[in-house]
Symmetry: C2
Subunit: 360 residues, 2 copies
């Protein structure tokens, strides 16, 4: 059976002050009708039901996740006691899924991407599950056709083509993975035409990824198995906290994918945006006649190219502004030139170093 593993542990500091430690990016309604997490789970409707969905998040966020996903069983939300990157997260999810379904295939996906249309995404997952059925030891990834030589993504080089059915997306063996390259190298990749962005979405059999972890990350897997063994016991929380903290954080790409033999990549037959910052949100939402993207109550005089986020109650007035970002929340307001968008993360670092924890 096909299961969904939704990774929802990110912190999303690029969206401060809207995103906070207690309400990171994936829990905000940045683009669609619901929060990014709600949209992610909703997108699976008709393909993967709630009882085969697992959301892995940070333990401090589990209550908010329950509130945002009331249709999910409570045991479907796993709260990690600390951050350990994607390999431990995916490995634990695989072990938990295997406890109920030894033949499980799992679709692993981030919770903070914008993907449209949902039908295209579901079709791609189905195609991927088919590729796994054909070759049970296969790891399937999804690649996005680059729209720019971005140095912010990993790249996947397409190798030999794999057979596809009618209306299916192009699928290839992976020739090689490339971590985030310098922009000049990225330019060569884009020019070559057979490099795709790594979307961080994967489909494979749970047993396959466990075998791979046994080979490449045996200590990690051993600790994850200890946690899984305690899952149905009163010791779960203590064991989870102790063992998970002892694992070295590592990404699934680095730990497994880059060493695996049988890896395929499907060229995504859907629109994709990982919402890297406020400008991406503006791109998703579109602008008004003055190129302003506004949420909440705004009055702009001689203002263009703005991104304004506030509430319906708190009025933001802009006067003589160009290409600026104004984000108002109850206890903090950010005003930034859009050329400095990348540095919003630095604000969070600076707040931490000042000990202004109330604003984190």
């Amino acid at each position: 059976m096909l299961h969904a593993i939704v990774m929802a542990g990110g912190s999303g500091t690029r969206f401060w002050p809207s995103s906070r430690a207690a309400l990171p990016k994936q829990l905000l309604p940045l683009a669609g009708s619901g929060t990014l997490l709600q949209d992610t789970v909703g997108r699976l409707e008709g393909l993967i039901p709630p009882e085969r969905t697992l959301v892995v998040t940070n333990v401090r966020l589990t209550e908010t996740v329950h509130q945002q996903l009331p249709n999910l069983p409570r045991e479907a939300v796993v709260g990690e006691p600390c951050k350990r990157d994607t390999a431990p997260c995916i490995g634990l999810a695989a072990l938990l899924v295997l406890q109920h379904d030894a033949e499980a295939t799992m679709a692993v996906m981030p919770s903070d991407h914008v993907i449209e249309p949902a039908a295209g995404f579901r079709a791609a997952l189905t195609q991927a599950a088919g590729l796994v059925e054909t070759s049970p030891g296969r790891l399937v990834t999804f690649g996005i056709r680059p729209t720019s030589p971005s140095p912010s993504y990993g790249y996947i080089q397409q190798g030999e083509p794999l057979p596809t059915g009618d209306g299916e997306a192009p699928a290839h063996r992976v020739a090689q993975f490339r971590e985030k390259p310098p922009v000049e190298v990225a330019r060569e990749y884009v020019a070559a035409g057979n490099f795709l962005w790594n979307a961080g979405i994967f489909v494979w059999r749970a047993s396959t990824i466990i075998e791979a972890l046994a080979k490449h990350q045996p200590e990690c897997l051993f600790r994850l198995e200890t946690i899984a063994a305690a899952w149905a016991t009163p010791d779960r929380d203590r064991v989870f906290a102790e063992e998970f903290a002892a694992i070295k954080g590592v990404s699934i790409d680095y730990a497994v994918l880059e060493h695996a033999e049988d890896v395929a990549v499907i060229e995504a037959p859907f629109g994709w945006d990982d919402l890297g910052g406020w400008s991406a949100v503006a791109r998703q939402r579109g602008g008004d006649a003055n190129g302003n993207t506004v949420v909440g109550r705004h009055l702009g005089l001689a203002s263009s190219g703005l991104i304004v986020h506030t509430s319906e109650e708190h009025l933001v007035v802009t006067l003589g502004l160009e290409d600026m970002l104004v984000v108002h929340t109850e206890d903090a307001t950010l005003v930034a030139h859009r050329s400095h968008e990348e540095q919003v993360r630095k604000v969070v670092t600076e707040l931490e170093s000042r000990g202004w924890h109330d604003y984190l």
Copy 2:
């Protein structure tokens, strides 16, 4: 005896969103230790006691004025039912003062100027009272030596010098009043060296200004006398509302000063700023090493030349900003380029036209 008439009915839309219909400029702590009104009354201490001070404001502001000036008797605050410029305000104040002191001399002053040092101001008022004693029919004004050819002020041309005592400021007969001139004309005035800005501060006998109003504004005076006659009766509010509304608004400069024979001007022996906008506030407060003037909790990264006003609770973060104004209040935030400071008034007009009265 010397009485103080403090005019506190202004609306100060240039300080929106800090200044509101219910809390205009003079009721805000923009520059000194207290609000501008509190500083204005405090400046008189030692020269004019509370029982000889009258604050004339808008009827909607009287309660706030009482709260800000708890030492003033309640009858010392007069709430005008509507705005009618300075002549009716001063005329009524003169009539009320004359009810208790037929020989009263009155010092009339705005409530929203920054004046320092207070001792210099008191000395100037004393000097002015002396000029009135010498010539009881005289009207005394105060002039500020211009620092620029500003088109925002009326100008007073100094005529023949008047005798002054030791340590007293230069005093002259007024040759003529000039309303706000175009900047080229203002430049000529400044070059001529004998033109001063009209500070809107006056000293004269109450009976003198009443005689002048009788001559130049008889209808206005008639209605003011009707109001004054009802002052101690249960009809006060009704008569005040009806008669005051029927008066045509006119400034004391236009109504009286420009036609009067015996007018003197004292060159102010004190620093003066009428706080025409946020930049004037920044000038008063001074800036930090980055040229930022900050009130409240602020974190600035790559930010200079800013004016930031917020509370100690609400954090404002600025990132990559130059020469901007950020004013946060509970229900509204203004972000403006400082080159657009003059247009803050337009914001208020625009809010009115949209019917967003909650923010006015």
